[in-house]
């Protein structure tokens, strides 16, 4: 063992470059003659570098936590004209609002349809699929002819490429929303997503404290999707309902969203930019968990 230990120390000194010129020449002579020694040097070099890698891990992890304090924002963004973040389903349970964990959101890229199969005049198709541990809420949105449409099921291939003028099960967006209504959006890649002050937990708390069931005597269940802009100063603007329940619920959802404090704006190219977001809010009947969604109350 002493010999091997000594050899390892020699290799260390060789790799450190701390050998005298004559020692080095002698050592290199030995190395040329022995493939075994060459292997030892390579292994030891790799292990020393491996130790460096391992030692950096804590800094890498801590910096990540600084970067995403909640650790919950998972994002997709890019060159698309606007970024939609389907954040969550809210369970209204006498005033308990729950936020869907972000990591359970995933963008579903249609895998059955290769891009080349899409004729150039066809609209681009984007689907988002939100789920909980077991699927609770599924929201599909299809961008068709420049308009978002919400579907209550995963669109079939035929539906995706169907002419939107023909009648389908697709539910048209309310006319209050058009892409233009969101105003100009910077189409550079968003590098930093907008953030609610204090992160996801704070957003959760804010909504929990401020959202109200508009009509407790006839509560209904369902989702209200609110789409809004966060301008480059972080102010929430132009909240519109992209999928609603009824006038009272829609108004309540918009009210809560519009009253949010200023966000930290998204950033692109190091500069704050406007971005678009969407929050699906789910109202649940505060009395009967099993009850089907009640009829709309007006």
């Amino acid at each position: 063992m002493r010999d091997e230990l000594h050899l390892m120390e020699l290799v260390d000194r060789y790799l450190d470059g701390s050998m005298s010129a004559s020692d080095r020449a002698a050592f290199e002579g030995r190395v040329t003659a022995s493939t075994e020694l060459q292997q030892l040097i390579e292994d030891q070099r790799a292990l020393r570098e491996g130790a460096h890698r391992a030692a950096l891990r804590p800094a890498v992890q801590l910096a990540y936590r600084d970067f995403r304090p909640g650790g919950k924002w998972k994002s997709w963004s890019g060159g698309a004209a606007f970024v939609i973040i389907a954040a969550a389903g809210y369970h209204y349970w006498p005033r308990i609002v729950q936020l869907l964990p972000q990591e359970h959101l995933e963008q579903v890229v249609p895998d059955t349809i290769p891009d080349e199969a899409v004729p150039t005049e066809q609209p681009r198709t984007i689907q988002y699929h939100a789920r909980r541990d077991t699927v609770v809420d599924t929201v599909y949105r299809v961008l068709r002819n420049g308009k978002w449409q919400v579907m209550d099921h995963r669109p079939t291939e035929a539906e995706l490429f169907e002419d939107s003028s023909r009648g389908t099960e697709v539910q048209e967006e309310p006319s209050t929303y058009t892409e233009g209504a969101l105003g100009p959006i910077d189409d550079r890649a968003v590098e930093v997503l907008p953030e609610f002050p204090g992160g996801m937990k704070a957003l959760h708390r804010y909504l929990d404290e401020h959202i109200r069931h508009p009509d407790l005597s006839h509560p209904i269940e369902g989702m209200v999707n609110v789409r809004f802009m966060i301008n480059e100063r972080g102010k929430v603007e132009k909240a519109t309902v992209s999928k609603g329940l009824n006038a009272a619920y829609d108004a309540e959802a918009v009210r809560v969203v519009m009253n949010m404090p200023a966000w930290t704006p998204a950033k692109a190219g190091g500069r704050p930019v406007a971005s678009a977001m969407e929050l699906p809010l789910r109202f649940r009947n505060p009395g009967t968990e099993e009850a089907p969604p009640g009829p709309s109350q007006h």
């Binding site: 390892m8 030891q44 570098e49 391992a54 910096a63 990540y64 997709w76 890649a189």
Partner: protein
């Protein structure tokens, strides 16, 4: 914060601050990975590897920044993800190497070497925390054996030295195993 400032931070050993700044390039990588059958967790893993590779590059003697840090990180991530997909035996899907010309010329050899270092890191981790601690203190923090012995409760300098030797020897065996396994996998493909 500009690239030069980030490099200075790394050179001053303020790694965490530098990494914190560099994470702003992560969303772009997440986008790339998501478009190519990955999840954002995958993106985070390869991005963190890219950070470590960049760190090594900066600490290498004679380092000059030949492209922007962003370009470098993105090129590394793109290649790492391509490798990962190959490992998973999955088709690559649409792949748009936007600026192949921007890639550092020595990227392929750099990543091949880094693959070895990553296996070595795995081998060290497999040995357990104590051995990793000894070797990190010795090779990374350059603590003298005397201090290592004191910090980790070895009888003395000699004991620390022996421990270090044994750990390195074990790590080497494990590293050989991992390397052989990798080579075997590559040949079956």
């Amino acid at each position: 914060m500009n690239d030069q400032r980030i490099i200075e931070l790394i050179q001053q050993g303020r790694d965490q601050e530098a990494f914190r700044e560099l994470y702003r390039h992560l969303p772009k990588v997440e986008h790339l990975v998501r478009l190519n059958s990955g999840r954002s967790g995958d993106a985070k893993d390869i991005f963190q590897d890219a950070l470590i590779i960049f760190h090594r590059r900066v600490r290498t003697e004679g380092f000059v920044l030949s492209s922007s840090i962003s370009t470098f990180l993105f090129a590394v991530c793109r290649n790492l993800w391509r490798e990962e997909l190959r490992r998973r035996d999955r088709p690559m899907g649409e792949w748009k190497p936007e600026n192949e010309a921007d890639e550092p010329a020595d990227l392929t050899s750099l990543l091949a070497r880094e693959g070895e270092y990553k296996r070595a890191e795995q081998a060290l981790k497999d040995l357990g925390a104590k051995c990793l601690d000894v070797l990190t203190r010795f090779y990374v923090k350059h603590e003298p054996l005397q201090a290592i012995a004191k910090a980790l409760g070895f009888a003395g300098e000699g004991a620390a030295k022996t421990r270090k030797y044994k750990c390195l020897e074990e790590a080497r065996k494990r590293y050989r195993q991992l390397t052989t396994a990798t080579v075997a996998t590559m040949q079956t493909h």
